[in-house]
Each structure stands twice: as C-alpha cells, then as structure tokens.
C-alpha cells in the first residue's frame, strides 16, 4: 500500500483523540482530565481540517479550547478541590456494569455507523472545499437559518441570566 499523507494524518489524529479521551476519564485529578480534554478537542479540530471544514476547526479552537475549557479550569481552581478524600472513587460491580453497558453501546453504534454507510459515498463531495469557508456558512446562516440564528441569541441571554442568578447569590 502506498504511503499517503492524508491517511497517516487521519490515523494519527484519530488514535491520539481516542487515547486522550481514555486518559481523560481515567485520571484522578480533575485538572489533568481537563488538560486531556483540551488535547482531545485539538485533535478533533485537526480532523475537521482533514474534512475541509476550516471555519469550524477555527471556532472549535476558539470556543471549546479558548473559552469553555478556561471556564472548567476556572471552576476547578475556584472550588479548591485539593482534598483528595472527597474524590475517593471505589471500584464496584456498578462500575463494571456501566463499563460493559458502554461497550455494548459502542458495538451498536459502530455496527450501525460503520456497516450502514459502507460504499454509500465513493469520495468526499467536490463542493466540500468551498463548504468550509466562512462565506458559505454566513450565506446560509443569514438566509435559510435566520430564525435559529435569532433563537441562539435568546439562548445566550438565558445563559448569562441563569449563571448570574445561580452563582451570584450571596457569594460574600
């Protein structure tokens, strides 16, 4: 099999995203979990670039890694969770059952997704290169999807108000 850069990059990114996700759920300290999640977001943003979705890849870095994960790290530092005894996680039959259940879920998902689309798409669409641009996204967002766009602003308003109400209450 001839060596192809795209194939190599895909497997590198996919394997590192899976490894970082596994590391994330197995770390004891929430700080290292958050850092592995940032690594996972970074590799997924690389996968978006392979799918020629440049704008999505950029806002993945901006929003997920730049803002949401900062908020997570912030809260971990804010809550001052250095007391290890609060995080003692014991292994029990419950955990083994949940692990088996998630493996079962993986079997179902992979069966449906992997075999359901074998041979359906010969190659990436020719238009894919243009789809990732901000122009295409904007053109669609301000015509066909203008109502969801306005609703998104209500969502953001609700987020500000909700967070202020929940977090501000007699904090001093």
């Amino acid at each position: 099999m001839e060596f192809k850069l795209e194939t190599f990059l895909f497997f590198f990114l996919a394997v590192s995203s899976i490894i970082s996700a596994i590391m994330m759920i197995t770390r004891k300290s929430p700080i290292s979990s958050a850092l592995f999640l940032i690594l996972n977001f970074f590799t997924v943003s690389g996968l978006y670039l392979l799918l020629k979705a440049q704008f999505i890849a950029v806002i993945q870095v901006l929003v997920y890694m730049g803002a949401i994960m900062v908020l997570f790290l912030f809260v971990i530092m804010l809550l001052n969770l250095q007391d290890k005894s609060k995080f003692k996680e014991k292994y029990s039959y419950k955990k083994i059952t949940s692990l088996l259940l998630s493996i079962l879920l993986f079997c179902i998902l992979s069966f449906t997704l992997y075999f359901g689309f074998t041979g359906k798409f010969k190659a990436m669409s020719d238009a894919a290169g243009d789809l990732g641009k901000a122009e295409t996204l904007g053109a669609e967002l301000f015509t066909a999807f203008s109502f969801p766009f306005e609703l998104a602003s209500f969502l953001l308003l609700a987020a500000i108000v909700g967070a202020v109400v929940l977090a501000k209450k007699k904090f001093n």
């Binding site: 996700a21 979990s33 392979l50 979705a53 999505i56 998630s102 992997y114 689309f117």
Partner: protein, 100 residues
C-alpha cells in the same frame, strides 16, 4: 482518500468513551467534561456527513451545537458552584436529597 466509515467509527468510539465516563466517574465536573466530549463526537459526525454529502446544513448544526455547549457549560458550572456552596462536595453520590 479516507472513507466516511472511519470518521463515523472514531466518533462512535469517542461517544462511547463519553458515556462510560458519565456512568463511571462520580465527580460532577468530570461528568460535565464527558458531556462536552459526547457533544464533540456528534459534531464530528455532522461535519463528516456535511463534507461527504456536499451540504452546508451539517456545519450550521455544529455552529448551533457549539452555542448550546457554551450556554450549557456556563449554567451547568454555575449549578456546580451552587451545589458546592451548599454541600461542600461535588461528588454526585453525596447529592442525594431528591433520591427516594
């Protein structure tokens, strides 16, 4: 040329890891992170379909999902802070007042 199957398989693996994390971990903040991981794997599926079908709608969905994720993180972490203020803990096994 990478087939769409491989992207979908990666996304399925990430989603299952997220589900396993939600079920296994007991720290509320880590559970939130696992939810973000699941949202992210769904985004990967949507972008893959968008690229292979040649339709922009998938990327618009990703846009909206990212907005929802940001709003969810803001409110959810505020709830975690409020819980911590009352119970001095973020272990969800200790937050069981509503449990019968």
């Amino acid at each position: 040329m990478i087939d769409i199957n491989y992207y979908l398989l990666t996304s399925a693996v990430l989603f299952s890891i997220g589900v396993a994390g939600v079920l296994i971990r007991r720290n509320a903040i880590v559970i939130f992170m696992c939810i973000e991981l699941m949202l992210n794997s769904i985004n990967l599926t949507l972008v893959a379909f968008s690229a292979f079908l040649g339709s922009i709608s998938g990327q618009i969905f990703v846009f909206i999902v990212m907005t929802v994720a940001a709003a969810e993180a803001a409110v959810g972490l505020a709830i975690v802070i409020a819980l911590f203020r009352n119970k001095e803990s973020v272990n969800i096994d200790e937050i069981n007042i509503l449990k019968w």
